[in-house]
Amino acid sequence: MRNIVKEFPGVRALDGVSFTLEAGEFHSLVGENGAGKSTLMKTLSGVYPFGTYEGDIIIDDEVRQFRGIRDSEHAGVAIIFQELSLVKELTVGENIFLGKEPSKLGVINWSELYHRTSKLLQDLNLDIDPRVQVGNLGIGQQQLVEIAKALSKEAKILVLDEPTAALTESEVETLFTILRDLKKRGVGMVYISHKLNEVFEMSDRITVLRDGKTIGTHNAADLTKDKVIELMVGREVGNIFPECHHDFGETVLEVKNLTAYSIDAVNKKVVDDVSFHVRKGEVLGIAGLMGAGRTELLMSIFGAWAGKYSREVIVEGKSVHLDSPASAIREGIGFVTEDRKRFGLILEQTILDNMTLAGLKRISGAFLTNRTRETIAAKGPMKSLRVKANSPLTVAGTLSGGNQQKVVLGKWLLTNPKVLFLDEPTRGIDVGAKQEIYAEINKLAEQGLAIVLVSSELPEVLGLSDRVMVLHEGRVTGEFTRADATPEKVMAAATGNH
């Protein structure tokens, strides 16, 4: 790709970017959100058709002019987007061959379809039933199906946009094994990721984008993580987890004997007899792999878990009856939920509407709303969290991931909580925004808020928590103080090897 320029109304998203990929090469593309990575790849794959950008796309020495995704697929480009594009109601096989089912006169040859699907999955060493509905698979397996689908098109160029965001460690390993194998077969891969460990583990070369420009392409061996982060943000980054010392006060929240059951399988315990407490000014990290029951734990305390659950919740020494999010909020519990687009935000509404939603009655009054008071309330967190937007009336859906996350955090700060749950507070946001959120977490703890932090990123849990509780298959398998919590110990507990 040579000198690509792509403009959106008011913004130059790509400003003369050049990018090369060789056969069998693993080339990572890194940069903060909004740097232009996804835009570049959408240009490559014809999502932005020829004529809407400047510059040339050259594959196998030939300038290509893709009018759409179909054209780029024919040229051997397969792209796996951040958001999964599988049809959940269809089976694995139907998804993989969607749009190109083996058929005669429009009648699908099902046995051939499933036969070819099994073969494809076997090639990738995937133990997935081709006839199972995609919606019944875990998110990690869905991602692998997506990759199988891309490969069924005999791609020469495979673009992966944040493929591991939802995967467990073991699923990531499976994925990487597959990718290494593809590399041997000569498939060139473009890998977009915020996870630098993975980038360094896999890459031959790394290209850094910033503000729509290429900052540099380097051999991975010549770079360090700190160097990459520096290139990405354009400034020296010290330790991204600020040193801080919290003074703990009284226990604010105590949870006793929490057991929660699966929604689908009524007798399966997803959280099994967990008890813990968190003190004023303390950050309690909850580590664990996907499926360990972390989100279910928080949801059950909050009165929002859809399955059966039982527990005793004690807030500031008083046993409270929480049967709904409303009652939990009343007792001073705030919950920055995971997956901001699904659980956190109303994307078509403004920052103002989103931020004041949970604390509306506190801010406005029980019956009537008051725009002015709401605006003043929302401006507080907008300023302290540095939400980048023109005004509180900017629509939340137009914000970048980092700013959206800040809006969700702001929403909960406006409920004036005593305890704040943070579930994956930095997933899919850029390094700069992450750092700001880390700093905010520390600041809130210093101000005396009790914080329960769930994160799949181990460095994040270790870097921010005063105490780490580890879950494995719904049970507590370890608890460490900040000094004791080494990655090795925590990971051992999280995998059940303690």
Partner: protein
């Protein structure tokens, strides 16, 4: 970063202007085509009366649609509540006021029942109210024994057919203007009170000119015939109440939140089920009110009263910019949508367009309006 898209407020406002423009075009065309009959006080007064039943239903329907639900049963419920009102006045002789209250309560009760099935038993609103569409129509036929029941009470018939004296109209105008000016003053002052900048009294007053002129023009036109029709007064009350609920109450905000993202709303501490139940109850009350106007206008309750009214109400909301996916729509838009629909009915009748042709044209305009809207949305 590319985060300077226009806010929701300005797109909604822009939409409203476009719709007013479309309405003006329709009026101009009919005025020309009918040989200057359409835009006379007499016809405009008729038009306002004709739209009131649909518009009252549309205001309630809008709130249900905003919450991400639908109600297909309002036409049948209208018929049933009308039948109740007629029977309790004639056969059972409950008297005027109790009969009116009774009819509205029946609307509320049906709303609560259907709302509960939707919210608490998780039966999709479409199915619950599709069942209601059939069942309540059956109930009217049963109730009235298949006959039309005439109502003789003149006071009752006045609800649908009388006019407020011109003096009353001007008093209402004065109150409305005072209210608009007061609100403008409060808006300007609150900016200063809350330390958001200097109070811009001039600017706020300037913005108040349009509604003030609108009120005066409306009252003047209505008084030029026989005064404001009673159904229109009721509609104004319902519409103001609806606008107030959607704009200025926590309940209204919650409806938009639930329609926009039900999960996010629930996790923000909103009791989605209860809000949905409440909004159905409210639509039920409005349906009861619409039933009274409908019955009073016709002077009788008929087994087929209100047939297809639900579709008129839904169409008015959709033409007015509401999204059937929920989370988007305004009471003002719904009323404007009802006015556009009523204008088409009225204008085409004046032009003696054949019955079947009217249906075809109205249906096509509904689809075209929404199509243009989607097309316009894609550009932003």
């Amino acid at each position: 970063m590319a985060e300077n898209k226009e806010s929701k407020v300005s797109t909604t406002t822009l939409r409203a202007y476009v719709m007013i423009g479309v309405l003006a075009l329709i009026w101009a065309y009919f005025h020309w085509a009918t040989g200057s009959i359409f835009l006379t006080p007499t016809n405009l007064s008729n038009l306002a009366t004709q739209m009131s039943v649909t518009a009252i239903l549309a205001v309630g329907m809008l709130m249900v649609i905003v919450s991400g639900n639908i109600d297909l049963s309002v036409g049948s419920v209208l018929g049933f509540a009308g039948g109740i009102a007629a029977l309790s006045m004639t056969t059972y002789e409950f008297g005027l006021v109790p009969s009116i209250i009774f009819a509205i309560l029946v609307g509320v009760a049906i709303g609560v029942f259907q709302g509960a099935l939707t919210a608490y038993l998780n039966i999709p609103a479409f199915i619950v109210t599709l069942g209601g569409l059939l069942a309540w129509r059956g109930a009217v036929k049963w109730l009235l024994g298949g006959y039309t029941v005439p109502v003789a009470d003149e006071t009752f018939k006045a609800i649908g057919n009388e006019y407020i004296l011109p003096v009353g109209g001007w008093i209402i105008a004065a109150v409305a203007i005072a209210f608009v000016v007061l609100m403008a003053y409060r808006n300007a002052r609150s900016v200063k009170d809350y330390g958001l900048g200097e109070a811009n009294y001039g600017g706020e007053m300037l913005k108040a000119i349009i509604p003030v002129v609108g009120v005066v023009a409306f009252i003047w036109v209505m008084n030029a015939y026989r005064g404001i029709p009673v159904p229109v007064i009721i509609l104004l009350g319902v519409a103001l109440l609806g606008a107030f609920i959607t704009n200025s109450t926590t309940f209204g905000r919650y409806l938009y939140a639930i329609g926009g993202n039900a999960d996010a709303a629930r996790l923000s501490g909103i009791d989605n089920k209860r809000q949905v139940l409440k909004v159905y109850a409210l639509l039920g009350a409005f349906t009861g009110i619409a039933a009274l106007i409908f019955t009073a206008r016709v002077g009788s309750a008929a087994p087929d009263a209100g047939v297809l009214k639900e579709l008129d109400a839904i169409a008015a909301c959709v033409i007015g910019g509401a999204s059937l996916m929920g989370g988007r729509g305004t009471v003002f838009g719904a009323c404007l949508g009802a006015l556009i629909m009523a204008s088409l009915d009225n204008g085409m009748s004046l032009l003696n367009v054949r019955d079947f042709m009217q249906d075809i044209i109205k249906g096509s305009i509904l689809v075209i309006a929404v199509g243009l809207d989607m097309f316009g949305r894609r550009g932003t």
